[in-house]
């Protein structure tokens, strides 16, 4: 009994220490999925300088921690984004920009843009604005860091637990064999 509880404590404590370090070096995947990506270069370069938060762009999904969905997501992109997300190694987080991934935004009636991203991928954080200003992006990143430290940003665990549900939703959009209307 004592042994198991100390083991639990050990595991939890260890995880907490890991989370503390993880939040200090987030690497975001350099993949521009939508128009919000145009505000990323100013965020990364000298004026706002993202690197003071220990963040930087990373070219390959295998070494990235953060997937940014910068705005709307068309069906064709969704397929690539899911591939990319599944290639990333745990722990991994997803940030959605603007109103488009929440309910479709200005493209609510478009035949090609998905309306709610949370049906297909677990979203840890949404940043408001069309498009979000660099300040808003940095604010979102610091919020994510706090959530990671507290152990609240667990989208990737949710994705693993409810894998079947997410796959069903994804298949409905990507592998349809009959007309919709």
């Amino acid at each position: 009994m004592i042994l198991s509880s100390t083991k639990e404590l050990k595991d939890k404590g260890f995880e907490q220490i890991l989370d503390f370090f993880r939040k200090k070096s987030l690497w975001m995947l350099h993949y521009c999925t939508g128009c919000g990506a145009v505000e990323l270069p100013p965020t990364m370069t000298s004026r706002w300088d993202m690197e003071r938060f220990g963040m930087g762009p990373m070219a390959t999904p295998r070494q990235a921690d953060l997937l940014l969905i910068t705005g709307y997501l068309s069906v064709k992109s969704l397929k690539r984004v899911i591939y990319t997300y599944e290639q990333m190694q745990e722990p991994k987080w997803v940030i959605a920009f603007g109103s488009c991934p929440i309910n479709g935004g200005i493209y609510y009636d478009s035949y090609s843009v998905i309306n709610r991203l949370a049906l297909y991928l677990p979203v840890d954080l949404s940043i408001e604005g069309c498009m979000p200003r660099p300040e808003a992006i940095i604010d979102g990143f610091t919020k994510l860091m706090k959530a990671i430290e507290k152990g609240e940003a667990v989208g990737y665990k949710k994705y693993k637990e409810n894998y079947e549900w997410y796959k069903k939703n994804q298949r409905e959009v990507l592998e349809r064999t009959t007309p919709v209307l």
Binding site: V75, K76, G104, Y108, S110, V113, E175, T177, V180
Partner: protein, 162 residues
């Protein structure tokens, strides 16, 4: 050539039935039968209308017709010509112009995908932009985009979500 001379020149030298309408000082439309499009376009290319700016279509659903528009430009006359033709909406077919301009092949692929118009002679009409499309071509007027979006992406309730 000025616009007036140019129109006169076309009137005189292109014998088939046509209708010319001036939009403004820099552009005018020529409407021809669909089997004379290729003749007109090659004639215009000879009189220095070398740039094919766009091929597009308009769905006139009430008249049951598709209008196909070829937009040409000449760098020497500084004039824009909109060549138009009408095809039947139930059997939309027109000859390809990809032998005149290479760029036409991609525009035709685009129009084929969004309107379902067939270009005879263009063998590369694979889907270009849409992913796994099973419905009506989306830019046709009888395709309801909002209904499609609601049915495909919008059917969720807040409490259903994980």
């Amino acid at each position: 050539m000025e616009q007036k001379e140019l129109i006169e020149h076309i009137e005189k030298n292109f014998k088939y039935k046509k209708e010319i309408k001036v939009i403004d000082g820099k552009q005018f439309t020529i409407t021809v039968e669909k089997d004379k499009v290729l003749n007109l376009l090659s004639f215009l290319k000879l009189i220095d209308f070398k740039q094919l700016a766009l091929i597009t279509a308009v769905d006139w659903i009430d008249e049951k017709k598709f209008e196909i528009v070829y937009i040409l430009f000449s760098y020497s006359h500084i004039q824009q010509i909109l060549v138009k033709t009408f095809v039947d909406r139930d059997n939309p077919q027109v000859e390809t112009v990809k032998n005149l301009w290479d760029v036409a092949s991609m525009y035709e692929r685009d129009v084929h995908e969004f309107f379902g118009i067939d270009f005879i002679g263009n063998d590369d009409l694979r889907p270009l932009i849409l992913h796994n499309w099973k419905d009506l071509p989306p830019l046709r007027k009888d395709f309801d985009s909002l209904k499609y979006s609601n049915k495909m992406f919008g059917k969720f309730k807040k409490d259903e979500e994980i």
